[in-house]
């Protein structure tokens, strides 16, 4: 930006002008230079002034055009909240917009709590939550759009395949510190957890830890992807992420012999399952209602199934 302005000032003056100014042939000009501009600087001052007015005018135009632009797209709705739900909501919004070209859906992250607060303060039309509503939030209208399982992940080279729920709890509480105690190599266990307030962490705390605290020794990462990255690069690490985000770089652990897959989630044998919610202030109407209906339609649910979530339509889950 700075560069643009300075060239703008100099180019109209062209060469002879600037030579005249900066290599002044008359000594008096240099003397008087302290107070105001000398006579020969007159043109430069004008140019500077014009430059600024023009710049001001241009930015004014820009602001006006932007506000006008905003008003035109005002018809859209805003979906905000959990970063776990966000990628799926974005996918659904894209699908929805390709079918309804006149509507606009803005998807933002920020976290479950932030999303619910945004709905209460009317900053967003729909809140995304990856945790169940708290007592104080029960008056909101919430719809489960899908379910997500939480997988305990290990490095693929780790020989351990199966854990009891109690063992997982003791590992995360910091009571079991070495893989040796679990029948593995004599290396210290590296715990990887999510940050305080995360929906995934809240679910893990509720399903696995109960009253116990997650050890303060645990590494803290601020997204599913970062947890996966750390576990994938450290053979002694253990972490937890959304089942939908497990890939070949990590291995999902069986819990008490139950493998985390669609069948086991559906028949209730794999219990680390949490709801993904859309939260509204009241029963939705208009655009929000039509988006919700789309999300619950077989087509959208099939899409979610493909992405690794558990659909809320029971028929689809069995396919």
């Amino acid at each position: 930006m700075d560069k643009n302005i300075s060239t703008k000032f100099q180019t109209p003056n062209s060469k002879q002008m600037s030579r005249h100014e900066f290599n002044p042939p008359h000594p008096p000009l240099v003397k008087g230079g302290g107070g105001g501009f000398g006579h020969s600087n007159f043109g430069f001052g004008i140019c500077l002034g014009f430059g600024i007015w023009r710049l001001g005018f241009l930015s004014l135009l820009l602001v006006i055009s932007m506000t006008v632009g905003c008003q035109r797209t005002k018809a859209g709705i805003t979906v905000a909240g959990s970063t776990s739900v966000e990628p799926f909501a974005e996918l659904l919004a894209e699908e929805y917009m390709s079918r309804h070209s006149e509507s606009h859906i803005y998807v933002q992250g920020g976290g479950s709590t932030a999303g619910i607060e945004a709905v209460i303060s009317h900053a967003a039309n729909i809140g995304m939550s990856s945790r169940t509503l708290m007592e104080t939030e029960k008056n909101l209208y919430a719809v489960t759009i899908a379910k997500d399982a939480i997988a305990i992940i290990l490095h693929p080279k780790n020989p351990i395949q199966d854990f009891l729920l109690d063992q997982i709890r003791e590992v995360w509480a910091g009571k079991i510190k070495s893989w040796k105690e679990l029948g593995g190599a004599p290396h210290p266990i590296v715990l990887v957890t999510r940050e305080e307030g995360s929906g995934t962490r809240e679910a893990f705390q509720r399903f696995v830890m109960g009253k116990e605290d997650i050890s303060l020794e645990a590494l803290v990462q601020d997204s599913n992807g970062a947890v996966r990255q750390v576990v994938a690069s450290n053979p002694n690490a253990i972490g937890y992420i959304s089942l939908g985000l497990v890939n070949d770089n990590v291995k999902a652990l069986k819990i008490s012999g139950v493998e985390p897959n669609m069948t086991n989630i559906d028949n209730g044998r794999y219990t680390l399952v949490r709801p993904f919610l859309f939260v509204f202030n009241e029963e939705p109407v208009g655009e929000a209602k039509s988006f919700l209906e789309f999300v619950l339609s077989p087509l959208a649910q099939k899409l979610l199934l493909k992405e690794g979530l558990v659909p809320v339509l029971p028929k689809l889950a069995q396919e």
Partner: protein, 282 residues
């Protein structure tokens, strides 16, 4: 013409003032948001508390203050000798043809976004530390290493300037008295430019304490008292950066309160640096 000058003058004054007022606004809001929590749980429990478990209402940031100092101390331990050596080489020993290439390259180091430093540390340094030194790899050592590179440009540019600002008679006098080039550098020039060099180190320290993105990626962010350089740690800045997305209520206020502590640390460091470089000028 005079009138137009006045308008331009005032416009610039207004723009300058607005940038300062933004600083004032930020300060005001940090205090407005964070101070109530400090009052609520007590300054001592906040600053010296050793447990940070927001879900249980425990907001002790002592481990983070300590981690911040560990990481910064490590960075200075590596950065100061490296920076000083670089400065001496650049200002006294370098052949001019090499300087043309080396100086911009050094300044380029300052232009690399911190997330790139973090990414590089994550991909290159961390596996090395994991394999050769053990531990989780994400550690204070990795953080200090990366930070020491990040503060090099600050240290080098400012201390080189202060070396260049010395009167030429210092060097000429020392050489005339029979001192060798190295003796002149080490016994005359460096002591004479001392205050500027110390100021550069303090500014580098400020940068190290304030660095966030790279540190989130390579420190591991565990909330505990650091006991060795191979431990994972969480600094004051990364505490804010990693938890702000989901924080609400007291938790959010506690993050702002962390900001207040950081504010005072940075203020103290910058004041010290300004004070030191002023003293040199007089």
């Amino acid at each position: 013409m005079q009138f137009k000058e006045k308008i331009i003058e005032k416009t610039f004054l207004l723009i300058a003032l607005s940038s300062i007022s933004i600083l004032a606004l930020i300060t005001f809001f940090i205090f407005e948001e964070g101070f109530p929590l400090i009052l609520k749980i007590g300054l001592k429990a906040f600053l010296l508390g050793e447990k940070w478990i927001p879900s249980k209402g425990l907001f002790g940031i002592f481990p983070m203050i300590m981690s911040s100092f560990w990481v910064t101390f490590g960075a200075l331990l590596l950065g100061i000798p490296l920076g000083l050596a670089c400065t001496i080489f650049l200002s006294e020993l370098i052949p001019p043809s090499v300087g043309i290439l080396l100086r911009p390259a050094m300044q380029l180091l300052a232009a690399i976004p911190s997330v790139i430093y973090g990414f590089w540390g994550l991909i290159v340094l961390i596996p090395l530390i994991q394999n050769y030194l053990g531990g989780p790899g994400l550690s204070i050592l990795a953080g200090s290493l990366v930070l020491s590179f990040m503060i090099l440009p600050t240290i080098i540019t400012i201390s080189e300037d202060s070396l260049k600002a010395l009167p030429p008679s210092y060097k000429a006098g020392a050489l005339a008295l029979g001192a060798t080039h190295w003796q002149t550098i080490w016994r005359v020039l460096i002591p004479a430019a001392k205050s500027g060099i110390v100021a550069s180190i303090i500014l580098g320290m400020g940068r190290a304490i304030g660095e966030t993105m790279a540190m989130i990626m390579i420190l591991g962010n565990a909330v505990k008292m650091p006991t060795s350089f191979l431990d994972s740690a969480r600094t004051l800045t990364t505490n804010i950066g990693i938890e702000m997305g989901y924080a609400s209520g007291d938790h959010r206020q506690a993050l702002f309160a962390t900001g207040i502590v950081l504010f005072f640390i940075i203020m103290a460091l910058n004041t010290l640096a300004i004070f030191l470089s002023r003293r040199r000028a007089h």
